[in-house]
């Protein structure tokens, strides 16, 4: 249901300095249409900052982020932030802010809840839901906006394996409908399952961009090889 026309996202020489620290350092990256991109890299490499910069939450100190056409975006954070109101009301709020009027607002919100299997708890206060439920609610909120691109910043980092599997299933189905994914994770199994391509970030730059099925066996960059050796020492 997402906007189907292809688009391209390009970062050119993007640097971001936050609190005196150079989080991104002249990063170049082209995200082509239709792929599921997983951004990998060690802690502090700049993965989260990259996503926030592409999404527009952080203005680059230098360089540009350009879109081949305007695209509706959404982002799911590691810790979902829900408003103090019911699960359904959280979705209705996001839709209202984005100009979706009744009766479509309610029907879309209800459909999105059903989509992530939360229709039974529509009226429960969102902030007392479990971590996994809140993250699925965050995905429903993002999906309800029909984004052309969805950024996910370690969406399962604070979840247990059961909740992680549920969230992964929802993410995969959103991508299957044509929403472009750009996601960070520390879970290499998850990266394998969800990625078409891997972007490996090291010291604020994109060290490589490689098809996922090749990356884990034959990473192109030395940094990625060392990273994989550290993460998968048995290989």
């Amino acid at each position: 249901m997402a906007e189907a026309r292809p688009f391209q996202l390009e970062a050119r020489g993007v640097s971001v300095v936050l609190g005196g620290v150079r989080a991104l350092d002249g990063l170049d990256l082209v995200l082509e249409p239709g792929l599921r991109t997983v951004v990998l890299g060690p802690n502090g490499a700049g993965k989260s900052v990259l996503l926030r910069t592409l999404h527009g939450l952080i203005a680059p100190t230098a360089g540009t982020v350009s879109w081949s056409r305007p695209v509706r975006q959404a982002m799911v954070f590691q810790r979902p932030v829900m408003l103090r109101r019911s699960a359904l009301a959280n979705l209705r709020y996001a839709l209202a802010v984005n100009g979706v009027t009744e009766p479509e607002r309610t029907s879309r919100a209800t459909a999105a809840l059903a989509r992530v299997g939360l229709e039974k708890i529509a009226d429960r206060p969102a902030r007392v839901l479990s971590g996994g439920e809140q993250q699925r609610l965050a995905l429903a909120r993002a999906w309800a906006l029909r984004p052309g691109i969805l950024f996910l910043d370690e969406p399962t980092a604070s979840l247990d394996p059961g909740a992680t599997a549920e969230v992964e299933r929802v993410i995969a189905s959103i991508a299957a409908e044509g929403t472009r994914l750009v996601m960070t994770t520390h879970n290499l199994g998850q990266a394998r399952r969800l990625a078409d391509e891997i972007v490996f970030i090291h010291a604020g730059r994109a060290a490589e961009r490689t098809a996922a099925d090749r990356f884990f066996d034959q990473p192109a960059s030395n940094e990625a090889r060392l990273f994989l050796q550290g993460e998968l020492p048995w290989k």
Partner: protein, 234 residues
Amino acid sequence: MFEIFASLGVALELIGGADPELWGIVLLSLKLSLASAVAGAAIGLPLGALIAVGTFPGRRALIVVLNALLGLPSVVVGLVVYLLLSRAGPLGEFGILFTPAAIVVAQTVLVVPIVAALARQAAEDAWGEYREQLTSLGVSRLRAVPTILWDTRFSLLTVVMAGFGRAASEVGAVMVVGGNIDGVTRVMTTAIALETSKGDLPLALGLGVVLIAVVLAINAGAFGIKEWSAKRHG
């Protein structure tokens, strides 16, 4: 020492015996303080949230002015309101000096800085948590103000109660602009001041007991609501 207990005994009799003079004063006090708290909240809450969330020219100056108002002696506020409302003043044509309305105006001026300062704190904390998510959803800063106010509504209840407490316990400004006219603008605090200076300790003490009880009860209620909401809404 004995005198205090004797006075306290008479005071409790006045309270229990539904003394019309005492309860008339209490009722007027509550009415005016409630009106001031509501008016102060209507101005102070959005103002506090706007300062917390907004980026606009004069924001820093506004914070300094509000903080200064927090520490301003209430008698001075009373004097300024008096000058504004007096017949020759810019708002003199309304003719509300020495009426309950003048008390509400003065108390509101005193309540707004407190409510705004405390609301700003609550809103800043919430904004720190919500900023990225709301920005990501496409919520403008101005649109975020009502969202933040609604989401911190249970904390803000305590804030409004603090404003109510400020209004209810106010003496100096109320004396200046209300005039402490018997049956018209005599409220608990000004009555206590007057009766004490006259030596009628039982009435003063009775009013004091009621004043403390009211402020305690209202704050206990606000606290209870906050606890309940934290459990229910997280």
